[in-house]
């Protein structure tokens, strides 16, 4: 009987060691996203929206040094505007081929706790947008939530001509 109990005590310590080690768990963390993803559209001869590419795209953000985001990027059908965690308003200048337009974004950011492994991230909600109408014909919100799902947020439509 005593020997049995000694065996049990040894087994108990063994399982205890395994059990404590099994508490360690790795978690996969989806990367945060602070980019407002914008697709470029034009209007075809039938008056329908079609995805288009622009020959040259340059973008910078007003009010920040070294704010160049895109520098003469060729054949682009999409661009992204990086949102700041400490701001709620952005002024973005776009050089679309030879035309220059300005885009304004109002948004709010809110922290989201994910886990002790993945930390806290910010998500964003686009509240309002506006733009000049040089090359840009229209700018629309498709999805106002900017988060890890990385869905298309804005639709930018060029003039038909």
């Amino acid at each position: 009987m005593i020997a049995k109990k000694q065996y049990f005590a040894i087994a108990w310590l063994f399982v205890l060691t395994i059990g404590l080690n099994s508490c360690i768990k790795n978690e996969v963390c989806a990367p945060a996203n602070n980019m407002v993803i914008t697709d470029l559209y034009s209007v075809d001869s039938h008056g329908e929206l079609v995805i288009t590419k622009i020959d040259s795209l340059t973008m910078f953000i007003v009010g920040r040094e070294d704010s160049l985001v895109y520098d003469n990027v060729k054949n682009s059908s999409q661009f992204s505007i990086p949102l700041a965690d400490t701001l709620s308003h952005l002024k973005v200048v776009l050089k679309l081929n030879d035309a220059v337009d300005t885009v304004w974004l109002d948004y709010r950011s809110f922290p989201v706790f994910r886990s002790t492994e993945c930390g806290v991230i910010n998500r964003y909600e686009i509240k309002e947008i506006d733009s000049t109408k040089n090359k840009i014909w229209g700018l629309y919100i498709d999805n106002n939530q900017v988060d890890e799902t990385k869905q298309i947020n804005l639709l930018l439509v060029f003039h038909p001509n």
Binding site: M1, K5, Q6, F8, A9, W12, V15, L16, G19, L20, C23, K25, A32, N34, R64, V69, P82, L83, A84, D85, T86, P111, F113, S115, T116, G119, V120, I121, N122
Partner: protein
């Protein structure tokens, strides 16, 4: 002659009367009571110790202590008290205080608070020897925890604008849950037991606030899913209380 005989009879009567009177007084003074209608025995109540298998067992969850010693992530104390109301049925009260802190370069998270668990254990094992007190049990618990959690620091990574930091204020929270459990308790030394068990836990309800999902509920565990499985390793001490005073009627002859 006839006179002498009369005197003799008178004397005899007087003596007899006197003797009866005196004897009667003597009997009264000694409180003699004839055993005609009296019971010969009287009833007397006496207390006597009798062995009944009652146990009060105090437990200390050593896995919390070991984890606290190995790593500062989780510290605290988890205690339990159990008492068998029937030979195989135990009422159990468990309680404690847990402090949980995760600290890395991106976040500091703290959860702390106390909890209580109430329930029963049923011993499904039949003892093979008179002093065999080993237990294989199945049980049920209801748990309640009141705790706080906070994020005093977090880091937001932003490739374009640069990283910033922030904090989330401390908030009160609570949780209810139920547990099904099973395990062993083996007496390795006299009155000392080692226990090992597994617990299946489900939330009944819990508060949901800004810091969500809650990472650690004292008394419950880390919270990664709707059901969690915990192992517990407990050291028990059985308070020697295996007797009970019982009134027994004993008839004694005086």
């Amino acid at each position: 002659m006839r006179l002498n005989r009369s005197i003799y009879y008178l004397f005899f009567i007087l003596i007899s009367f006197y003797t009866t009177e005196v004897w009667s007084q003597v009997s009264d003074s000694s409180r003699y009571q004839p055993a005609v209608d009296e019971p010969l025995h009287i009833e007397k109540v006496r207390k006597e110790k009798q062995h009944i298998d009652h146990d009060i067992r105090i437990g200390l969850d050593i896995s919390t202590l070991i984890l606290g010693a190995i790593t500062p992530i989780r510290t605290g104390v988890d205690l339990s008290v159990e008492y068998n109301i029937k030979p195989k049925l135990f009422v159990v009260a468990e309680g404690g205080y847990n402090y949980y802190k995760r600290d890395n370069d991106r976040i500091i998270y703290i959860s702390k608070g106390s909890y209580i668990r109430l329930g029963i254990d049923y011993n499904v094992r039949n003892s093979v020897e008179p002093n065999d007190h080993d237990i294989y049990y199945i049980g049920f618990r209801y748990g309640y925890s009141q705790f706080t959690q906070e994020v005093p620091y977090y880091l937001l990574l932003n490739g374009f604008w640069g990283s910033t930091d922030g904090s989330m204020a401390e908030e009160d929270a609570y949780a209810h849950w139920v547990e099904l459990l099973t395990g062993f308790k083996v007496e390795v030394l006299k009155n000392f037991y080692l226990g090992m068990g597994v617990r299946f836990k489900w939330f009944l309800h819990r508060s949901k606030k800004n810091i969500e999902p809650v990472q650690f509920v004292p008394g419950y565990a880390k919270n990664y899913s709707s059901m969690v499985i915990n192992f517990n390793y407990t050291l028990y001490y059985n308070i020697p209380l295996n007797y009970k005073k019982k009134k027994i009627a004993v008839y004694e002859k005086k």
